[in-house]
Amino acid sequence: MAHEPQHAEQHFHDPANIVNPEHAEHHIVSPLEYSFVFGTLLLCTVLTVFAATLDLGVFNPVIALAIASFKGVIVILFFMHVKYQSNLIKMTVGAGFFTFLVLITMTLSDYMSRAWGLW
């Protein structure tokens, strides 16, 4: 039995499930890329604090959360390497946020429609 991870030309023995979409090559993100992300994050922090000083009405929370989501996404993509990960990891991350969304929307469906009728 072959134990070596021969990446090519092996059809049957696939110990790390390498030929399937769950696998991704190990990618090393360079410090330069990290620095760009870091800079963007700091910039966004300044931006969101600045945006909070302006009176934008209903857009204040929208902008704050949009910036936060953007920051979250770039942390996930670069600091957490998801951009270079397998589809499996990408789907896993997606599944987490999807379930969170289910929790929020389905529960809100109760709270929001309570006032619609007389009950």
Binding site: L42, G57, N60, K71, G72, V75, S86, T92, V93, T99
Partner: protein, 255 residues
């Protein structure tokens, strides 16, 4: 039955060890690659549970902010944006050094790895330090939910020295109690976050010790990488907590 398989058994043990690249390779994984990917997938699944764990509190915050808008606005405006923003920057910096630590481990530079881990820890502690002063202020103002909670600041807002006007709209006595819900959620959410930081810093010390011994600069980076995932997740929670708790209530809608 299966006699053919049995005979190869003893040889097998020896054969397995030939393929072990690093001492940390566990016997039940066939390749190091498989072990590494299993580890990071496991960490991600753990982070899913964390998303749902914080998710419950985020939902509670969303709900009560809609119900008790005025109280949440008033309570939220007593938080110190400066401290919050500084903490955000500190935490992002800590995360940045963590990312660099992962890089240092990947390119097998032991000294850099140790330096970056120390910096990560230092900034993590700085975050907790700032948090301590914030909590202390809340404690002194009697804004900690419980028996000694005091609403006077929201009933009669103090006069701002610069503008000469009250810092906020006074709250009616029937809604003022709801500020306590804000602070309950504030302490629950930031407290849980801080708890995650404290646990993280504990693990960081342990990783530092092992990095110092050179365990992670020989190609075995999984613990550093997986801890990095955890640390960045804690960052992300704060990235959302900061605007939700500190920022979005600064300009209340005049319904």
């Amino acid at each position: 039955m299966d006699s053919a398989i049995e005979t190869t058994h003893s040889e097998h043990d020896a054969a397995e060890h030939e393929h072990v690249f690093v001492p940390q390779h566990r016997h039940h994984f066939e390749t190091e690659e498989q072990q590494r990917e299993a580890g990071s997938f496991g960490m991600w699944l753990f982070l899913l549970t964390e998303i749902m764990f914080f998710g419950g509190m985020f939902f509670a915050y969303l709900l009560f902010r809609n119900w008790y808008y005025d109280a949440f606005v008033a309570a939220s405006n007593t938080l110190n944006i400066g401290m919050g923003a500084a903490n955000t920057a500190i935490l992002i910096t800590s995360g940045f050094f963590m990312a660099l630590a992962v890089w240092a481990a990947e390119v097998r530079k032991k000294n850099l790895l140790v330096i970056f881990l120390v910096l990560t820890t230092v900034f993590g502690c700085a975050f907790l330090g700032v948090k301590y002063f914030e909590y202390k202020e809340k404690f002194e103002l009697h804004h900690v939910p419980g028996a000694s909670f005091d609403v006077s600041q929201f009933v009669n807002p103090p006069i701002d020295a610069k503008t000469g006007k009250p810092v906020g709209k006074p709250l009616a006595p029937d809604v003022v109690q709801h500020t306590q819900i804000f602070f309950f959620l504030y302490f629950a959410m930031t407290g849980m976050h801080a708890l995650h930081m404290i646990i993280g810093i504990g693990i960081l010390f342990w990783l530092l010790l092992r990095a110092q011994r050179g365990e992670f600069s020989v190609g075995y980076v999984a613990p550093i990488e997986n801890f990095g995932l955890y640390w960045h997740f804690v960052d992300i929670v704060w990235i959302f907590l900061f605007p939700l708790l500190y920022l979005i209530n600064r300009h209340p809608l005049a319904h």
